[in-house]
Each structure stands twice: as C-alpha cells, then as structure tokens.
C-alpha cells in the first residue's frame, strides 16, 4: 500500500532534525488553517473568534484545574495514539479505537468488582492487564479476519465499534448495573463504583490528574523502543514500508499486520481501563469520550511517532478541554472542535504529498552528491 504511512516508516534515522522540522511545520500549518476555518464559522455564528479562542486557551491552560484537565484528556489520546502508531506503521488502518476502549473499560470494571477483596497492589496491575487483554482481543478479531480471510480492517473495526457499544449498553443495564441504583429505583445505566484500592492515585490533590498519565508516557517510551529497537518492531515497520519486499525477505505479512492490530487494540484497551480506574471509577455511557477517533488525529499529528504523539496528545487534550470552556463562555457547541479535528486530519494527510516530494528531492540530492564524490 502506497501511503505517507510507509514514507514515514522509511526514516531509519529517526532523529533527523530537518525531517522533524518539516514534519512539524506541515501539521502545524494544517492546524492553523483548520483554526482559521473555525474562526470563519464562528463569525458566521456571530461569535467573536478572538474572544472564543481566548476562552479556549484560557480554559485549557489558564488555571491549575485547566492544565490538569488537559493532561487528563491527553492521557487516553496518547494511549490510543500509541496503538495507532503501531497499526498505521504496519499499513493497518485501525478505526476501532472506540470499541477497543469500551472492551478495555468493560473488562476493567468487571475484574475489580469480581475480585474486590484483593489488595490494591495486585488488583490494580491485574486490572490494567485485563483491560489490555480485552482491547487486544477486540483488535485481534479484525486482525485475524484480515490475515485469514482478507476482510478489510477499516470496515470490520467500524463494525466492532458498534458491537462493543451495544454490548456495553446491554451490560450496564443488566448484570453490571449498579445495585444501589436498582434498590433506590433509579435504574441508572451505570455500573457499581469500583473498590477504592483499585483507583489510580491522584498526582495533584483537588484535581483529576491521576497516575495514568505517567503510565501513558512510560508506555510511549516502551512503544518507541519496541518499534525501533526490537526485531518484532522492525518487522512491523517493514511490513508497512513495503509489504512486497517484506514478504520476499521472509516476513509473514498477514501475521505481523494481525499482531499490529492486536497491539493497537491493547493500547486502546488500557486507555479504557485507565478512564475507568482514574477518572470515572465506574462504567457508564460515553466512557470513550470520542478518544478512539481523536486519538487517530493525535497520532497523525505526532508524525506516527510514539514520542511525537506525547506533545500532540497534550495539544488535542487542550483543544477538547478548551472546547468545553468555550461552550460555557460563548455558547458555541463543542461540536466546533470535532469539526476542526476533522479538518486537521484532512490537512495533515493532504500535506503528506509535500513531505513525500521533499524527502524524494533530498534523496536525489544526496545520491548526486555521493556520485560526484566517487
């Protein structure tokens, strides 16, 4: 498959500063254009764009609570984004983040409620592993369908999203429904609150910032090492860079693509688990927060690099938090932010043409230079 995903995988020198500059400049200009179009929409809605965007920035960075909320939202974005980095690098388009988050969240609710007497030091890590496993299973199904039956993973992951959503809706209205809600007669569609020993520790008192953010950053480093320092990671990138060449050199392409999709699912699963353990402390509707889609934006924006995904996630976390406060302050629905996110995706993938041409030109120049020296 020919795509910018492959071109980026080509960069073996991954700390290539000129490349980083180009990969930074284009997404940022894409973001700027998207924000400008957003400003035009605000004008049409008779809202002063400067005022609205000022509220957005103030909401995201203007206070301790704003900054911590930004980081809280950046956490699932980063985790989903890490999975997207792995999948897209293998030329597998994973649109199933939403379903994988839900799978992880369901597992991470069921497990501690079942083993609620276990001490936290064993219950918490085991819950994270179970969340990873459930998300991985939700990625494995489309992965194996692609590997064995050549089922298009874009479509199967979209369908898996809907199946996960309905499964969760069913569970929180039946077996996982909060017994307190049943006895009080409110029948709220949510699970029981998880035992406290499994909650993720708060990093800053009086705020929502929890230890999950540290876990996410640590995992970003691990994914970086995995992709660039291990044989398995090399194979995954080789499959995405040039499947034909990978096959001729003896790499099992379908297996590695299925593996990439499974791992991607796992990371979204952890994102779901961490949302449950760190933020909500129970399972309820809307647990995904749309991160399955916005995580794709963060990963693309970060150049499909696990470390690039860190600042990108903070940026989009800020956009989401700022969108909320913009909605409160100037009454602009936060769907404006979703619209802007969509435009960012279009501009970032659209601008890949120039990145590609630029690196081709540079390669040609390097070859010429080499030729003259010889």
């Amino acid at each position: 498959m020919h795509s910018e995903v492959n071109d980026k995988a080509a960069g073996t020198r991954h700390f290539d500063w000129a490349g980083i500059f180009v990969n930074l400049l284009l997404p940022l200009s894409g973001m700027l254009i998207a924000l400008l179009i957003g400003a035009v929409m605000l004008l049409i809605l008779k809202v002063n764009p400067l005022e609205a965007y000022a509220e957005l920035v103030k909401g995201a960075f203007g206070s301790v609570s704003g900054i911590t909320q930004t980081l809280v939202k950046a956490t699932p974005l980063l985790l989903v984004g890490l999975g997207i980095c792995i999948a897209f690098r293998a030329s597998v388009i994973n649109i199933g983040g939403e379903g994988q988050i839900i799978a992880g969240a369901i597992a991470a609710t069921w497990w501690p409620l079942t083993f609620r007497t276990w001490p936290g030091w064993i219950l918490l890590p085991s819950t994270l592993i179970v969340g990873f496993a459930a998300g991985a299973l939700w990625g494995f199904i489309p992965g194996i369908l692609k590997a064995r039956l050549k089922v298009n993973e874009i479509l199967s992951t979209v369908m898996m999203n809907a199946i996960a959503l309905q499964t969760m809706n069913l569970l929180i209205r039946s077996v996982l429904m909060d017994p307190a809600g049943i006895s009080a007669g409110t029948y709220l569609a949510q699970s029981e609150r998880l035992p406290e020993q499994v909650w993720l520790a708060r990093l800053v008192p009086q705020t929502l910032l929890h230890a999950g953010s540290l876990i996410a950053v640590a995992l970003a480093v691990i994914v970086y090492i995995f992709l660039w320092r291990t044989t398995l990671g090399y194979r995954i990138r080789a499959v995405g860079f040039n499947p034909e060449a990978a096959r001729f050199s003896g790499i099992n392409v379908p297996f590695n693509q299925a593996l990439a999709l499974t791992l991607a699912g796992g990371f979204s699963g952890i994102a779901g688990a961490i949302e449950v353990l760190g933020v909500q402390h129970r399972l309820l509707e809307g647990i995904t927060g749309g991160y399955g889609f916005s995580g794709i934006v963060a990963a693309l924006f970060g150049g499909l690099h696990p470390l690039g995904a860190i600042p990108a996630s903070v940026l989009f976390g800020a956009l989401l938090v700022g969108g909320d406060s913009m909605q409160r302050a100037v009454q602009v629905p936060k769907s404006l932010i979703d619209t802007i996110l969509g435009l960012v995706v279009l501009f970032v993938v659209g601008s890949a043409l120039w990145t590609r041409r630029w690196s081709a030109r540079r390669q040609m120049a390097a070859m010429k230079k080499g030729g003259e020296q010889a």
Binding site: L155, A162, Q166, I296, S335, L336
Partner: protein, 310 residues
C-alpha cells in the same frame, strides 16, 4: 415469537425493509462509482449527515421538498469536491482522508443543528405515492408500490448504475482508471478527471441518501442521525462485489434484518434492544468474512495515481 409470524407483521417487515433499503442503495451505489474508479471514500457517513441536515433545514424553512433535495445534492457535491481534492489532487491516504471527512461531517452537522435548530423538530417530507394499478394488487402492492419517490428512485438507480458502468464509454473509463490507471493514462484518459467525476457523483448520491433519511423516511434531524449507515453502505460495496445488483441484494438483506429488529422492539418481543441493534453489524462482519467477491475488487482501489510511478 409467534406474533412475528402473523401475515400482517410479515407484510409490515417487508414494507419497512423496502423503505429502509433506500439510504443504503443510494450511498452504496454512489460508493461503487467512486471505488470503481479506484478511490475508497470512507467519508460517506459524514456526507450523509451534512446533506441530511441541509435538506432538513431547507424543508423546515421553505416547506419545499424539492429545494431540500437540491440542497442535499449541492452539499454532497461540495463534500465530493473536498474529498477528491484531498485524495486525487493531493494523493493522500484514502482511508484516513475519509475518516477526516467523516469527523468533519459529524462535527459540522451537529454544530449547525445545535446552533440553527436546537431541538428535534419534524417536517412534512416526501409522501408515499401509490402507483396506479400496481399499487392495488393485494399484499404485493402494499409492500412494493406504495412508497415515496425517493424510495422508487433508489431502486431505479440499480439498473441505471448497471447501464452506466457496463454499457457506456464513461463506465468503461471509470473501470479502466480503477483497474490500471497507468494504462488508461497512456491511452489518453484523464485519470484525475474521471476520479473527480466518480467521487463527486458518489458524494451526490450519498447526499441524496442523507436526504432520504431526513426528509423522507424519518422526517426529522438529530445528532448523528445516520448512526453509521454510511459505513455499512461502504461495506455493502464489498459485499455486492462492486456490482449494482449485488448491492441490491446486500441492501435488502440488511434492511430486512433492520426492519425485523425494529418490529421486534415495537412488538415488545423479549430480546434486549441492544442485541437487536447489534444484529446488522454482526451480519456485516459475517458477510465481509464469508463473501468471496474480492477477486472483483478494482486493482487500483485505495492507490493514489502519480504519473511516472510504477
């Protein structure tokens, strides 16, 4: 379950199935044009959403259903131009561009709905038109010949699309560009132009699909009105093997399952509604896994064309 087997219920399910196939048919046949030319447009659901909103808004304010349909077509065309620009001119990864287009459509339709309408309202959209004589046949008339014009249009589209793709020069051009763009290019076919036209035609049909929901089947608009039907439509193209007739069977299968689950809920049969809603999606995955039409897939699908490459 016995109440599901009564004659009146079966007629009801089949009548609903014909109605519900409408958006799938428009969107999936439109997507067939785009994919036959080598462009995977995954943004169908987003196009449907914005067009559904546009046509609903126009009908709400003018009361004119034809103006509403025109609005859906124009908005579909604009979205098609955007998608073609990104995927044909800028040669971007098609799958991801489509997701961008979907997110844009979902966000914008929700933004416009919340700021310009606010609450769920209903309109008088396309009304059922009984076809003389045929509509009077017992049972068959009720199931097939008592629908709105948009429903008839969707079924008429099947032979028209077949004719265009199989019997006209344009159809040949579309397919040649989707199979081997380099060869088509060397024979003087303007690859980019053919892809632009195919994607835009597909987007216009996706727009009509959206309008068929908001001003014919449901006569209302709400957030995420399509609930992913655009994605199922894309899956139907694979299921139908890039042939209009195959898509017709696929669309009917899905709409029948959908109609069945709606009636199950209406009749209060003891199946959780979540399971019922899940059925079409489970069916899609099964259908994708067990159909063997992949040999017909346009060879250049999802591959941007650049002169001098490969």
């Amino acid at each position: 379950m016995s109440e599901l087997l009564q004659a009146s219920v079966i007629i009801g399910i089949l009548t609903s199935a014909i109605r519900l196939a409408t958006p799938y048919l428009y969107a999936a046949i439109g997507e067939t044009f785009a994919q036959s030319s080598g462009v995977l447009n995954l943004g169908v659901d987003g196009i449907m959403l914005i067009s559904a909103f546009a046509s609903f808004y126009v009908v709400l304010h003018t009361g004119n259903i034809w103006l509403g349909l025109l609005a859906a077509i124009l908005v579909g065309l604009l979205m098609g131009l955007l998608m073609s620009f990104i995927s044909v001119t800028l040669k971007a990864e098609q799958g991801i561009s489509g997701i961008g287009l979907y997110m844009f459509g979902l966000g914008l339709s929700s933004l416009l709905f919340k700021t310009m309408i606010g609450t769920v309202k209903t309109v008088t959209g396309f009304q059922a038109v009984k076809i003389p004589l045929l509509g009077d046949i017992p049972v068959v008339g009720q199931i097939f010949f008592n629908h709105s014009l948009l429903v008839y249009g969707a079924f008429l589209l099947v032979p028209i699309a077949w004719w265009v793709l199989e019997k006209t020069t344009w159809g040949l051009k579309i397919k040649s560009v989707g199979q081997n763009p380099a060869a088509a290019d060397s024979l003087g076919v303007n690859v980019d132009l053919v892809r632009y036209v195919s994607v835009c035609l597909g987007a216009i049909l996706a727009g009509i699909a959206g309008a068929s929901l908001s001003i014919s089947l449901l006569n209302l608009f709400q957030d995420n009105l399509t609930a992913g039907q655009g994605f199922i439509a894309v899956a139907l193209v694979y299921f139908g093997g890039w042939r209009p007739v195959g898509i017709l069977w696929g669309a009917m299968l899905f709409s029948t399952v959908n109609a069945f689950q709606l009636w199950v809920q209406v009749l209060g049969v003891n199946i959780p509604s979540d399971v019922a809603i899940m059925l079409p999606y489970l069916l899609t995955i099964a259908a994708l896994a067990f159909t063997t039409n992949r040999g017909r897939q346009p060879a250049a699908l999802n591959k941007p064309f650049e002169r001098g490459e490969s």
